[in-house]
């Protein structure tokens, strides 16, 4: 090598080192690894949603930051990441049973249960959210449910510190009630007992409240009064906030192309029902985009549809809720990794197995709208969902939560009942140890969630309303999809 070329080779090298050191210096580290992890896990799981519908995603994160329980509801991706790396011992169990994967609801928590009206008009407590339902390890569901009940205790009696303290003090008993209820019901099912359909509140004042209110509002068709107006002989859906006290929840006009697509979507939906009413039942009368409902599903398309019902009379009009659904994000444990043919099929299969009877909600079906997989169900005030905000006074006591916890634990066992024998082989070895272990993990992890809630809020403060992800102009959806997604009222 001659001198010139040697010199020529060294000069770029020296420059390269300087560039490298400056470049690597751009790497940043955060003070809180957990804060960074929560932000990264959530944004990675929801990147497409954040990029395509930033205002809606920001609304979801703002909602998650508003309360501990809402954070829990919206942070299933964090739960999954924690399970995958056994954070706080979330995955480890002496009673692990990785096969068979059970048909589970994936995100069982207090507010994902409610009263449903079956085809014979009887009421029963059932799971009412299948966004994450899939085949999964049984203790995923069990621990998620127990964690949610502990967090519900922490969220109870918000204006009454003494009452809240009293309920929180019983968090271990509440978690034990969930797991104990699960174990007892599983034992009974494994012994050949029949699946219980929860048609009465029993000793649960929380269920008593839900059943009573459901019965009253079912008879009154309360939803028609709250969500529609009668114009002459015809009914139409309200526009704007149905409840002025909650302005972020509002109904808005739909674009014409969406309205035009709805009849075909309803026909596809009708075909998924167990006993479909005549096509005329679903004659489209009106439809409106709904903003501001749900937590995890906050950014998803949600439409209220007013249909004809059994007759042309306005008092038997029916309101349906059509809501976009996505992947469960919980599948892929072992081959084949995908356990359903489509999102709609996953919804139908998991819900009808999870319920005490397949017609527990006869108008619960699936469809697609402009390419988006969607769930359709009856929007009825006669189907009350359990709500943490009602856990005050008599409904927010430790005894009330313990009684409900046992019922929900038993109900979760029923949801897993197709594999009751296999599960009981593990659980039945040491039921008391089983209860000790799972309840201890639930209490420990729930404490972690409370810390995570603070970390999430700090991450939101530090990184901005989209947790640091900055959509670019090219991320915007095409105009027709943008019109369907709409703009939430708070962004106007």
């Amino acid at each position: 090598m001659n001198g010139a070329s040697a010199r020529g080779s060294r000069e770029p090298m020296r420059g390269a080192w300087l560039c490298f050191l400056a470049f690597a210096g751009c790497g940043e580290a955060t003070d809180s690894a957990r804060q960074a992890e929560i932000a990264s896990v959530i944004t990675r799981a929801e990147e497409a949603q954040i990029r395509a519908r930033p205002a809606l995603a920001a609304g979801k994160y703002a909602r998650m930051a508003s309360s501990l329980y809402d954070y829990h509801r919206g942070s299933l991706a964090v739960f999954r990441a924690d399970f995958a790396r056994d954070h706080l011992g979330l995955a480890q169990s002496r009673y692990a049973l990785d096969h068979p994967l059970v048909g589970g609801t994936g995100d069982p928590h207090f507010e994902n249960f409610g009263v449903l009206v079956a085809s014979d008009d009887t009421l029963a407590l059932e799971p009412n959210d299948f966004d994450a339902a899939d085949r999964l390890p049984y203790w995923w569901d069990l621990r998620r449910l127990a964690v949610g009940m502990v967090l519900a205790a922490h969220a109870s009696n918000p204006g009454a510190p003494a009452a809240n303290d009293s309920t929180v003090a019983a968090e271990r008993e509440i978690a034990r009630a969930v797991v104990g209820g699960y174990a007892d019901a599983l034992g009974a099912l494994a012994a050949g007992g029949s699946s219980e359909r929860v048609t009465a509140p029993g000793d649960s004042v929380i269920l008593e409240d839900a059943f009573l209110r459901s019965q009253k509002d079912l008879a009154d068709h309360e939803e028609l009064g709250e969500l529609t107006v009668l114009q002459g002989n015809h009914r139409r859906l309200l526009r704007g906030p149905p409840d002025p006290a909650e302005p972020s929840e509002a109904l808005a006009d739909l674009p014409a192309n969406v309205l035009a697509a709805l009849p075909a979507a309803l026909e596809r939906y009708r075909a998924t029902l167990l006993a479909p009413p005549p096509a005329a039942h679903f004659l489209l009368l009106d439809a409106a985009r709904v903003f501001g409902k749900g937590i995890a599903s906050w950014p998803r398309v949600r439409i209220l549809i007013l249909v004809r019902g059994a007759s042309d009379a306005a008092d038997d009009d029916v309101i349906l809720e059509l809501r976009e659904i996505g992947d469960s994000a919980l599948a892929g444990w072992y081959p084949p990794g995908e356990y359903h043919d489509s999102v709609g099929q996953r919804l139908i299969a998991t819900s009808r197995v999870a319920w005490a009877r397949p017609d527990a909600a006869p108008l619960w079906g699936a469809t697609s709208l402009l390419g988006l997989p969607c769930q359709v169900r009856w929007e009825s005030e006669g189907q009350k969902t359990l709500r943490v905000r009602r856990l005050v006074g008599q409904l927010g006591t430790a005894q009330a939560l313990i009684a409900l916890a046992r019922r929900l634990g038993a109900l979760q066992a029923r949801i897993h009942s197709a594999d009751a024998s296999a599960l009981w082989q593990v659980v039945g070895r040491d039921p008391e140890g089983f209860v000790d272990e799972h309840s201890a993990v639930a209490v420990r992890y729930a404490a972690g969630v409370r810390e995570d809630f603070s970390a999430f809020r700090a991450a939101l403060d530090r990184l901005g309303p989209l947790l640091g992800l900055a959509p670019r102009p090219e991320d915007q959806p095409p105009p027709d999809l943008a019109a369907l997604l709409g703009t939430p009222p708070s962004s106007n």
């Binding site: 690597a24 751009c26 955060t30 690894a33 995955a91 049973l97 390890p137 084949p336």
Partner: protein, 357 residues
């Protein structure tokens, strides 16, 4: 002018008219690829793996389950071009459009094409600079020593320690007389599959030194790399230190590598360790033997959270571009790891073919 002459002129016109390096008095073509006079120096290539895999998964308390599947784990098409000191390379790979367990993909879950490498490189003396979607420095060196990607994916990639490529730039100085190379890289840090999610950029430095570049020990290489990085919108720490002893012979190739991670899978506080050992031999012409073992300590802060995998393979080169293998894998998790990743205790047998041009 005879009529056929007009036909020839019209037929030849597009090629002449759209020569990007001859755009005087007219607009250059809207897309210039393939229109320059250097386009004749472009070399196409392809690599395809196809396999039949049978997996028997062992379960903690309830026997076994099995699954078998025909698959095409690698589809690569490449265009490579060079002129003087400039080089360009494009690699397109086929992947499933939805991730594992997802039902929503493109047209079901079709195979779609994405860019795996797309870069321009310029060589000045012993230094080559590359920019674009570039191969990173660590994984290609280990995988390039193994040379049996069809049989087993590198554990450094499988467990999320390293990505084979990323959007960024590298500078590589090839040491004279076969002493190896030293290199620097700067990347977005999310791997070539993802868009950038933060302001932090990753820096990587690597060196592969052949201490005795002549004689019987010429294949021996000592490799070391360090990557300073962050990942995700939360800027979770993602630093990697890798050290390896490699043997890069023609008939015998082997390596022992250790990688330590500060931060893994968006958890910046996690510490993980990966031990990787492999050997590839061609004891007689066209007979290929491979073995690889890896021990992955998923979280070094706790005890008993580990996953061990062993791959064995026998292959035969039927013709120069075509190799076939019989391969087997054993994945053995610790109890704790198995609880976190149900289904990770399994045996797998595969029949694999690899064609490369």
């Amino acid at each position: 002018m005879p009529r056929y002459a007009w036909v020839l002129i019209v037929a030849a016109w597009p090629a002449a008219a759209f020569a990007a390096d001859d755009a005087e008095n007219r607009a250059a073509p809207p897309t210039a690829a393939g229109t320059t006079s250097l386009a004749v120096d472009v070399r196409p290539g392809l690599e395809v793996f196809s396999q039949y895999a049978y997996r028997r998964t062992e379960h903690v308390s309830d026997g076994q389950s099995w699954h078998h599947e025909l698959d095409v784990p690698r589809i690569h098409a490449a265009l490579d071009a060079s002129a003087d000191s400039v080089r360009g390379r494009l690699v397109i790979e086929g992947v499933r459009s939805a991730s594992e367990g997802a039902l929503i993909g493109v047209a079901g879950n079709s195979m779609v094409l994405r860019a795996r490498e797309a870069f321009a490189a310029y060589t000045l003396s012993i230094v080559e600079g590359s920019a674009g979607i570039v191969p990173k420095l660590t994984l290609p060196e280990i995988d390039g020593t193994w040379m049996l990607r069809a049989v087993a994916i590198a554990p450094e990639e499988a467990h999320g320690f390293h990505s084979p490529a990323d959007v960024g730039a590298t500078l590589r100085a090839t040491l004279p007389q076969g002493y190896g190379f030293v290199a620097l890289g700067g990347y977005n840090g999310e791997g070539y599959q993802h868009r950038e999610l933060n302001r932090g950029k990753n820096g990587e430095v690597a060196a592969s030194i052949h201490p005795v570049p002549r004689g019987a020990l010429a294949p021996l290489a000592v490799f070391a790399s360090y990557e300073l990085g962050s990942t995700g919108t939360g800027l979770a720490r993602a630093d990697r230190a890798t050290g390896a002893l490699l043997w890069q012979g023609k008939l015998l190739r082997a390596g022992v590598a250790v990688t330590h991670a500060w931060g893994l899978a968006d958890d910046g506080s996690r510490r993980a360790l990966l031990l990787d050992a492999f050997i590839r031999a061609e004891p007689v012409s066209d007979l290929l033997l491979g073995a690889r073992g890896a021990h992955f300590v998923r979280d070094a802060r706790t005890s008993g959270d580990a996953l061990t995998t062993v791959d064995l393979a026998v292959g035969y080169r039927l013709a120069r571009p075509l190799e076939v293998f019989v391969a087997g894998t054993r994945s053995q998790p610790s109890s704790r790891a198995e609880d976190s990743v149900p289904g990770s205790r399994y045996w797998e047998a595969r029949l694999v073919s690899r064609v490369v041009f």
